[in-house]
Amino acid sequence: MRGQDQGPLWTESLPGPARAQEGTWQSRSEPGEDMMTSPSEQEPKGMFECQLCGLTAPYSYVGQKPPNTHTVVLLEECHVLKDPFTLDKDKFLILGSPCSLCNKLVCVGQECSLYYSKRFCLPCVHENLSAFPQEIQQEVEKRRAPSKAASKKSDSRTLL
């Protein structure tokens, strides 16, 4: 019987070079480095879901000090994912954070929120538009038109 704890599931030997670990593409380990240790720290903690557009993605950290970064801090409590678009494990990707007014968890996408010294969801920005400087007001007005067109798209996201 081949129990989960009875050792590697995928380790039957293959003929020839396929056995050699060095040929692997995805492992970033040096020879001698234990391949088994790395996954734990970056393991997903849960799913992030934007309460406005429904975008979902796994996140691996919540807070202001993403793992493996030494000289960058976040100015808000963010849901963070290790940047899936690079192999560099120091790179992170901010998914979203709670709106500082209504506390809804929103993504950082332009259709959902903006950051101006704090995170604001777009509905809250609209509600308090006058509290923001002109530059923001103009920008939000500009965003409004295309974001209507995009709302159709965002419906489909919820299917995920």
Partner: protein, 1218 residues
């Protein structure tokens, strides 16, 4: 030292005056980098990221300068917004500044300890530092926006896939049924999404098979990427040379062949919970076979789930094969496509096979497009043609038109192109210009080119078929199937509404076959039958294939395997058959490997076997290039093509191990595709491992290395890993803009292409062509480029290393080179047989190569092979010859009088074959005319044709396109080869006439030499067989180390002696003529069974083998292959009358013998070995043991006594009575 001083000096001067402040000053930049881009920082000095930052920085500067100018006109004070009441709004900064938009802060360059360490900081003004810090923050923020944009886009795209709405449905069906069919066309997302749904649903032991290796890699990467590394190492792939499987792997993408191998090892597949078999509609040999095996397996594994994924082609076939499994049908996502039928007018249709294609119908479509669609409307044209010749005909006609209109860039696409040229089809045409891709069916399913709006379908395809009778592969042109026609049409509707022009009538379309012929019905089935036997699947004739192969193909395969000694008379696996079934190589290659081990020729044999298993490294287009030809010359071997391949590989390894040499350039100069060399290196390594695993080859003990060299090796490997990692970061190839001018005059040279690539690379940032991989083009929209290409387009970038249109796909996909893609037509024979590259070529391949191989070892092997002695070469030829037998061809007897290009050859089943143009003998036919020339020189009647230098060709395959071609040939001394290999040898009474395998006749000048040769051959064959048996027995038996070593030593000695004797035999000079029997001659070859059993007393003379009258041929069956005196002859003499006095050179017996008796005597007279080799005590012991074993009871009628005698002694005894 001095340089740092200068830096300081300059540093003082320049940044001091802020008016002269220059961000571009290298010293300033260096100082800034020192402060901000340290090892702990997000951006590191010298990294790709750092380079990108500076590019960003420059743009930012420009942007801010222009903004500053604008703002100067504006009122400086923005109106303060009304005070907000809410708490969160209370402390909003009233004056807008972009820096408040960034939710990041940077710690770099702050804090005193850091600044002290980075001493130069004080020289930079504070405000400049702050400005720079802000720029870094903007850069990081920009990066975040881009990455998030990518993520959002990715999620949007996933959700928009047609498959997305069926995920739940599929999981539901899977709960209730063991087998589910998912049917959906390319682009519906089934291949990428279904594995993710399974993972999300909690399945953890999932295998997903793919027909192509490259798809395994690209899908594993894509799925891992799409799931945002959520599953990280849980998604892996496993192909012939590579595996990313780890204990964490939950889903693995692998080839069908590999899964079959796993079933072979563990028939119940306990390691899997769910199997996905993708692309079942492509009907590859392995896929069809796998379905059969799984259908048998399912009842034994009720917990195992099976998902078949197919295009919407013939779905009911699959569903009903699995007990009417439910079908989840996913609608495609094609834009509407207009079909225009434009049948070729009669006068433009080719009338014969050899006639060139008329390009006029094609040109008209080009003009129609130009006429109808304005050039601003983008959209490329994809033309489907049947083969390379057709492509060049159309190319020739299109190019002047393209040059004239300046509206087209015309690109060919087929498997015989160099990788660089193949890649061009993915480049982008400049504005106002359309790409026109002239392709074989390679672009039908396996290569996806984006942006195609127009499809022009010739309706033709060249496909391989297998003639089981002649064991010949034939490449013929056919009408395509309706399914293919729809596939081709669909290529126009992937990015928007499209148009499909069909060069046939709608009624033709209706007459097309509904589906393409499955591979199993088109190819040789040797390897399949062998694998079935080793999997214990019983009689292949009764296997429940989804659609059975032709019975004749199965029979041919079984007979072939029997002939090759892999199956015994009752069709069970022999020891050698068992071994061959475990070697994932073609039967012929497997035999060559085993034979090579026997004679200690492992290194060269490994290389040859590997080289014959991949596509030829010789680029076809370089054939006509004079410089290439000259550069290739030293690599050519006059022994034959496999030797040329051996030379090329070895020379390449030498170049490779020379650090200063550029192997890429070296290859290019010789018209060699370097990627093939890497493949050969990988394969030969795999072969070596296999031979070691099977005990045919001793494991090499690692040479003890001193600690220094170990360290050095370690460091080198670290460096290589570093390089590899860097490469992975920037993996993928940038898509470039095609240059109109460069393409007008045909294809540019490689150097040109490379230069232009470099130039284009320089402004890649400005052009903003979609970059692959983690390159962030500074595009304003949140990163429109995904770091990985879609599976389709990545698949397109990939080389399908395993050609699919190949007879009897051997289990893990190793095939004979010649059976794959070296056909002179450059066609892929299978929908789905792509041959584009997997990975960007050097320098990264070089890194990977050096990581995988021990260069020192390879080089040693290569240089040892370079100094092969004449003897070793001759033995190698023998090994190849025996492996390739019965694939032999004989030169036509009139070749000597023909032009070089008109040389003909005949095989047993095929007359009038020609040499493949790449063969060394094609350019040097005189190498094969030794016999004929000599015969002429001797001034005899050429009909006589007596010579001792007749040659035969052993070839790797016979391929028919417009002509039958012999591919990869080795030349062998004709008579000797036939005597050693033939499965059937027939003689006349005095053995001066021999017929091999019923088609090759030899007439020897001297009957005495003939009998001598024949008896030597008999003995050598027996010894060879025995040595092989022992070798195979050794690998089958577990043995103690010490005894094994001793046995090995003894075996080596025996093998060496055998090798020597074989060589002597090969070199024996005897004058003879050779002739291919005509059909009539072959019919009346034998005397037939005789009623009076003549000379029964002879039977005793033959030692072990009882000589009995042959029931069909007549004469006497001497061994399983030799029949004596069965040939019908003009001078029909009684064998008894032929007795002449003869004295045995070994035992000095002197008496009258018939040739037969003499041969028998010689065969057994081994008391005194041929050469009294000093120190050959083993052999002597061996032969004396053999002699005693030969003793038998002999009843002498004259003495009326039973005597225990060896056959020789019997002869002596009988002599007494004379």
């Amino acid at each position: 030292m001095s340089s740092s001083k200068r830096t300081e000096g300059k540093g003082y001067r320049e940044p001091k005056s802020s008016r002269q402040w220059d961000w571009g000053c290298p010293e300033t930049r260096s100082q800034l980098e020192e402060i901000f881009f340290g090892d702990q920082d997000v951006i590191r000095r010298g990294s790709e990221d750092c380079r990108k930052f500076w590019a960003f920085f420059e743009r930012l500067q420009t942007f801010q300068r222009s903004k500053a100018g604008l703002e100067a006109k504006r009122p400086t004070e923005a109106q303060a917004p009304p005070r907000p009441r809410g708490t969160a709004l209370a402390d909003l900064p009233a004056t807008y500044d972009p820096r408040y938009r960034i939710n990041l802060a940077l710690l770099s360059g702050k804090g005193e300890p850091v600044s002290e360490l980075r001493g130069s900081r004080s020289q930079l003004p504070h405000d400049r530092l702050a400005e720079f810090r802000r720029a870094v923050l903007h850069y990081l923020d920009f990066g975040q926006k881009q990455a998030f944009g990518k993520l959002a886009k990715l999620q949007r795209e996933r959700a928009a896939l047609p498959m997305a709405r069926y995920g739940r449905h599929l999981l539901q069906a899977l709960q209730e049924h063991q087998v589910v069919v998912v049917a959906g066309d390319t682009g519906c997302g089934k291949s990428t999404q279904v594995p993710q749904y399974l993972l999300a649903a909690g399945f953890s032991h999932v295998a997903c098979t793919q027909p192509r290796r490259i798809a395994c890699i690209s899908l594993a990467k894509r799925v891992s990427f799409e799931s945002l590394s959520q599953y990280g190492s849980q998604v892996g792939y496993q192909i012939r040379f590579e595996s990313t499987r780890s204990p964490a792997t939950k889903i693995v993408f692998l080839t069908e062949g590999l899964l079959l191998r796993q079933i072979q090892r563990e028939p119940g597949l306990p390691q899997y919970q769910v199997l996905i078999v993708d692309e079942v509609h492509e009907r590859h040999l392995h896929s069809d076979f796998l379905l059969g095996v799984l259908r048998r397996l399912l009842p034994a594994r009720p917990d195992l789930k099976l998902i078949l994924m197919s295009a919407t082609i013939n779905i009911s076939l699959f569903s009903s094969y699995f007990g009417h499994a439910p079908v989840v049908q996913v609608p495609g996502r094609l834009f509407p496509i207009t079909v225009i039928y434009q049948p070729v007018p009669k006068e433009e249709a080719p009338t014969s096979k050899s006639e060139k294609l008329d390009p006029r119908p094609f040109l008209r479509v080009l003009q129609a497009i130009d006429h109808k669609y304005p050039p601003e409307e983008r959209g490329d044209l994809l033309v489907f043609l049947s083969g390379m010749a057709e492509i060049s005909a159309v190319l020739e006609a299109f190019q002047p038109y393209a040059a004239h209109t300046k509206r087209w860039v015309v690109l060919p696409l087929h498997s015989a192109l160099s990788i660089t040229d193949q890649d061009k089809v993915f480049d982008v045409a400049p504005p106002g210009v359309r790409k026109c891709i002239l392709s074989t069916n390679i672009a039908e399913t396996s290569v996806t080119i984006d942006g195609v709006r127009f499809v022009l379908d010739s309706g033709k395809v060249k496909e391989m078929s297998f003639d089981p009778k002649a064991k010949l592969q034939r490449l013929q042109e056919f009408w395509i199937s309706r399914a293919s026609a729809e596939q081709r049409k669909g290529r126009a509707g992937r990015t928007g509404p499209g148009v499909c022009y069909r060069l046939y009538a709608e009624s033709d379309y209706d007459d097309f076959a509904p589906y393409p012929v499955p591979e199993i019905q088109r190819v040789a089935l040797d390897a399949l039958v062998l694998q079935m036997k080793s999997m214990g699947l019983g009689d292949p004739r009764n296997f429940p294939f989804i659609e059975p192969p032709p019975a004749a193909s199965l029979e041919t395969a079984i007979v072939y395997l029997r002939d090759q000694g892999a199956l015994d008379a009752s069709e069970n696996l022999t020891p050698i058959g068992t071994l061959l079934s475990e070697l994932p190589v073609d039967v012929v290659i497997g035999k060559i490997l085993i034979l090579g081990c026997l004679f200690d020729l492992v290194e060269p044999v490994l290389t040859m076997a590997a080289a014959l298993s991949v596509q030829s490294p010789f680029v076809r287009s370089a054939q006509s290039n004079l410089d290439c030809g000259t550069a290739r010359k030293p690599l050519e071997s006059d022994h034959g093509d496999p030797f040329t391949l051996l030379n090329a590989f070895n020379a390449w390894v030498q170049v490779k191990s020379d650090r200063s040499a550029n192997s890429r350039k070296w290859c290019r100069r010789r018209g060699l595709e370097e990627h093939r060399m890497y493949e050969i290196a990988n394969l030969r390594r795999q072969f070596k491992g296999l031979l070691q695993d099977h005990g045919l080859l001793a494991e090499a003990r690692p040479a003890p290395a001193d600690s220094y060299s170990r360290q050095q090796q370690h460091r080198q490997r670290r460096e290589l890993y570093q390089l590899k990692r860097e490469h992975e970061e920037s993996e993928g190839r940038k898509r470039k803009v095609l240059r109109l001018e460069a393409l007008e005059g045909g294809s540019s040279s490689d150097e040109d292409a490379e230069a232009s690539r470099a130039r284009e690379g320089a402004h890649a940032v400005d052009i903003q062509v979609g970059h692959l991989a983690g390159m962030w083009a500074l595009s304003p929209d949140g990163g429109s480029s995904s770091p990985l290409p879609s599976p389709c387009s990545l698949g397109a970038l990939g080389r399908q290393a395993m050609p699919t249109g190949v007879p009897a796909g051997s289990p893990a996909g190793v095939h004979l080179q010649t059976l794959s893609l070296t056909d002179p037509e450059g066609v892929t024979w299978q929908p789905g047989a792509a041959s584009l590259r997997t990975f960007p070529p050097s320098p990264f391949q070089d890194v990977k190569f050096k990581l995988r191989h021990d260069m020192g070892q390879l080089q040693a092997a290569a240089s040892s092979a370079q100094d092969l002695s004449r003897d070793q070469l001759a033995l190698l030829k023998l090994v190849l010859g025996r492996g390739l037998y019965p694939q032999l061809a004989t030169p036509d007897q009139f070749n000597g009088c023909r032009k070089d290009s008109d040389q003909f050859f005949h095989t047993q089943s095929k007359q009038g074959a020609v040499l493949h143009p790449t063969s060394v003998f094609a350019s040097n036919p005189d190498l094969l005319q030794g016999g004929q020339t000599e015969a002429r020189e001797k001034g005899r009647d050429s009909k006589d044709g007596l010579s001792s230098r007749h040659q035969l060709l052993a070839f790797v395959s016979l391929l028919e396109t417009n002509k039958p071609y012999l591919v990869s040939c080795v030349r062998l001394p004709a008579l000797q080869a036939v005597l050693l290999f033939s499965r059937s040898l027939d003689t006349n009474g005095d053995c001066s006439r021999l017929v091999a395998d019923g088609w090759l006749e030899f007439r020897l000048e001297s009957s005495e030499r003939a009998t001598q040769l024949l008896s030597t051959a008999l003995r050598l064959r027996a010894r060879w067989e025995e040595a092989l048996d022992r070798q195979l027995a050794r690998q089958a038996q577990p043995r103690s180390e010490e005894r094994a070593a001793m046995a090995l030593k003894a075996e080596r000695k025996v093998a060496a002696a055998l090798g020597r004797d074989l060589l002597d035999f090969m070199r024996s000079k005897v004058s003879y003529s050779t002739h291919r029997l005509t059909a009539l001659e072959a019919q009346n070859l034998y005397v037939g069974p005789q009623t009076v059993p003549a000379a029964p007393q002879l039977s005793a003379v033959f030692g072990e083998t009882a000589m009995s009258p042959h029931d069909t041929k007549g004469g006497y069956a001497v061994t399983s292959f030799l029949t004596y005196n069965c040939l019908m002859s003009d001078t029909d003499l009684y064998s008894d009358c032929l007795r002449t006095f003869w004295s045995c050179p070994h035992c000095s017996l002197y008496m009258p013998f018939t040739p037969m008796e003499r041969m028998c005597h010689e065969n057994t007279c081994q008391a005194a070995p041929d050469q009294a080799a000093p120190g050959a005590s083993d052999e002597e012991a061996e032969s004396s043991r053999q002699a005693s074993a030969l003793q038998r009871t002999y009843h002498c009628e004259l003495c009326q006594k039973d005597l225990l005698l060896t056959p020789t002694e019997i002869l002596r005894h009988r002599k007494q009575h004379l």
